[in-house]
């Protein structure tokens, strides 16, 4: 509701279009979308159920669901999925909790070296994940955190924190100082302000950051594997084996891709209504 109003408010006047224009734009954009996203996905789906697909066949002649049944029939897959969901939820909540105070500082305190702190927060995005993962893996072994759910959660937060902090910073920057002052003069203490003013107003950022963190955690492989596998089994850890680039079998890899993509697909179809573009852009597209 809120997002809706602001989105329309940010584009107050659009150029006037004739209905034909609209139809052309609609056809063009959706056409491009189908070609770029739907067709590859459809082809991958065909691969996942094809029973043999060689030239000159444009679509497979025979189909099988045996492979789907085989992968889905693996009982440990459910356990891994539950693990993944639980870990993703905890990671998302912790990420938000850790990010909020820091984002508040980044959004509302002027200080020297702020730029430097910004770069540092962005750094996990810049530095190749493998380097960090190997380093963390060895540090965790010393602390006894390796092969524990705790370790996996801790290491995944390194990946989700930067985006969350940036999204939250962008959100919190938009809260006027006066609102806080008004709340204080109306008798709200620090806790009251956080609970009644900041958190409710940070909801768009929390939603955006939360969804991205959830997907990020749900699909994370490298770091989770190095720290957690195989004692902690998440869905990607279970499935990435089928995606070994050098011996990847297209039919199996397609099935796995679909299972991994499912949450992202759902989120982004829903996201059109929840995620605020301006926030996402402000959080991600600013250096």
């Amino acid at each position: 509701m809120n997002a809706l109003a602001i989105e329309t408010a940010s584009m107050p006047r659009r150029r006037v279009f004739t209905p034909e224009d609209r139809i052309l734009v609609t056809i063009g954009l959706y056409g491009a979308l189908i070609l770029a996203i739907a067709v590859p996905l459809a082809l991958m789906f065909l691969w996942s159920i094809a029973d043999g697909w060689s030239p000159p066949l444009i679509v497979p002649k025979d189909y099988t669901t045996a492979r789907w049944a085989g992968i889905l029939g693996d009982g440990s897959l459910i356990r891994a999925t539950v693990n993944s969901i639980l870990i993703a939820v905890v990671v998302t909540v912790l990420t938000a909790a850790i990010a909020l105070p820091t984002a508040w500082a980044m959004a509302r305190f002027p200080f020297r070296l702020k730029r430097l702190v910004e770069i540092f927060i962005l750094a996990p995005v810049i530095i190749p994940g493998l380097v960090v993962a190997v380093g963390i893996g060895q540090v965790f072994l010393l602390f006894g955190l390796a092969y524990s759910v705790t370790g996996v959660i801790l290491v995944q937060i390194v990946g989700t924190l930067p985006l969350m902090i940036r999204l939250m910073t962008a959100t919190l920057e938009t809260i006027p100082d006066d609102l806080i002052h008004a709340a204080r003069s109306l008798g709200a203490g620090t806790v009251g302000i956080v609970l009644h003013i900041i958190l409710p107003l940070a909801v768009p950022g929390l939603l955006a950051g939360g969804l991205m963190s959830f997907i990020g955690s749900f699909e994370e492989f490298d770091k989770s594997f190095i720290v957690g596998a195989p004692v902690v089994e998440t869905l990607p850890i279970k499935l990435y084996m089928y995606l070994d680039p050098y011996s990847m079998q297209l039919p199996l890899a397609s099935i796995v891709s679909f299972i991994l993509l499912l949450p992202a697909l759902v989120v982004f179809i829903v996201a059109g209504r929840i995620l605020r573009d301006d926030l996402m852009a402000a959080g991600m597209g600013k250096i």
């Binding site: 029973d51 043999g52 697909w53 060689s54 030239p55 025979d62 492979r67 085989g70 190997v134 893996g137 060895q138 072994l141 010393l142 390796a146 092969y147 594997f225 190095i226 596998a229 195989p230 004692v231 089994e233 279970k238 990435y240 084996m241 089928y242 070994d244 680039p245 050098y246 011996s247 990847m248 079998q249 297209l250 039919p251 199996l252």
Partner: protein, 409 residues
């Protein structure tokens, strides 16, 4: 009665002997006296100890082996009532994990690890392989290939790293496009065929797939002789020494020349599966392949039924994958029992029939395969006659040198 007594005795012994055992082997979690175990008393000592442990953790590095091990585990759990915690892993990363654990002095997270045969030098140099002479104490290894019982691809392993599955690199071709009389029989003929059919031969990039790595080592074996060949097959070299030699030696010039001419007319591919996919797409007619992977792809109709395999004269390398007990494993007895069952004749036969997975047992032979399967595997005329042992460190070194000397020039 006597079993029970023995078990109790073994446990008591283990309790007393544990500290000194830990000192002379790298298995600090032993709960029975390993040094007393022989092929004869194996089950008497190990079965009770394994049942006391109650469970065993197993890693599998090969994606294509998941259902194979599922079968083994079903049989194992039914027979011994010991729970198997099974995980599919990515070999390279699992290796690094075990190395890190070992370096940190912690217990191994896995008890029985089905690992790539080529990873032995790396794993053993980092102390990851448990010092247990499996090949001399496991009863089912009595009929084990004596060569493999002591060495793995030339490296002595003292029985600690026994292969439980063998596989073979080969030249695969679609017989619908390659006539029987055109099938190359030597490396020269292969090159000639490629020059006559440009971009129809797929060569897997050695760094990205064993079929390519095996091929480059096979080429080197084919062209080198005398002292050069001695150096090429000197298994005592470390990876670093092999790299230095591969980078500098003039011995390998014929290999580089061969590759330069071959790659001018062949397609360099990004992996074993990549080569097979292109053959399925009828873009390539011939390529470097793994025999067992071809079986898998045929089974899921990702290769035409007309696909055939052959080996070149002077030989191509074969490899294998081992199941071993990592250092400081926690359920050693159960792991021993599991490996013993994996190498049993019944299981090896089953594996051969369903997966074309060759066996290191001398009593499991090709002619036991069903006729229909035999058509799609290497014919008896070439296998095992033309199978040569792989030397993966050298292969890696050659792959790196190929990068510097041919691919990036």
């Amino acid at each position: 009665m006597s079993t029970k007594f023995l078990a109790a005795a073994a446990l008591a012994l283990a309790a007393m002997a544990a500290p000194c055992l830990a000192a002379d082997s790298n298995m600090k979690n032993l709960d029975f006296d390993l040094s007393k175990v022989t092929r004869e008393n194996f089950y008497d000592i190990v079965v009770p100890a394994a049942k006391a442990e109650g469970s065993v953790t197993m890693y599998n590095f090969a994606g294509s082996f998941a259902d194979t091990w599922k079968e083994l585990i079903t049989r194992f759990e039914a027979k011994y009532g010991i729970k198997v915690a099974y995980s599919d892993v990515k070999g390279d990363q699992a290796n690094q994990q075990l190395i890190a654990v070992q370096a940190a002095g912690q217990d191994s997270p896995v008890d029985a690890y089905f690992a790539g045969g080529g990873s032995y030098p790396l794993l053993s140099s980092k102390g990851v392989v448990g010092n247990i002479s499996l090949t001399s104490i496991l009863p089912n290894m009595a009929n084990y290939d004596p060569e493999l019982a002591k060495t793995v691809f030339g490296k002595p392993h003292g029985g600690s790293f026994p292969l439980v599955h063998l596989n073979q690199t080969a030249i695969g071709y679609d017989s619908a496009f390659v006539k029987a009389e055109d099938v190359p029989k030597s490396f020269e003929e292969l090159l000639a065929w490629a020059e006559k059919n440009p971009k129809r031969l797929g060569v897997t990039l050695p760094a990205k797939g064993g079929s390519g790595g095996g091929f480059i080592y096979s080429v080197a074996l084919n062209y080198l002789s005398g002292d050069c060949r001695k150096q090429l097959t000197d298994y005592n070299q470390t990876l670093q020494q092999a790299e230095d030699w591969a980078m500098q030696s003039k011995c390998l010039d014929p290999v580089w020349d061969y590759y330069r001419r071959l790659l001018a007319v062949a397609e360099l591919t990004n992996g074993n599966a990549d080569t097979l996919n292109l053959i399925n797409n009828q873009q390539l007619y011939m390529g470097t392949v793994w025999e067992d992977q071809v079986m898998t792809f045929l089974g899921t109709k990702q290769l035409p039924d007309s696909f055939r395999l052959t080996l070149l004269e002077k030989g191509q390398v074969g490899s294998g994958d081992a199941m071993f007990v990592p250092a400081n494993a926690k359920h050693v007895a159960a792991a021993l029992l599991l490996i013993d069952m994996a190498i049993s004749k019944e299981f090896q036969l089953w594996k051969l029939e369903t997966k074309a997975s060759r066996s290191p047992r001398t009593d499991v032979t090709n002619d036991l395969m069903p006729k229909a399967v035999q058509e799609h595997v290497l014919p008896q005329s070439v296998y095992p006659r033309l199978s040569l042992p792989a030397f993966w460190d050298m292969s890696t070194a050659l792959a790196e040198a190929l990068d510097e000397k041919v691919l990036n020039q």
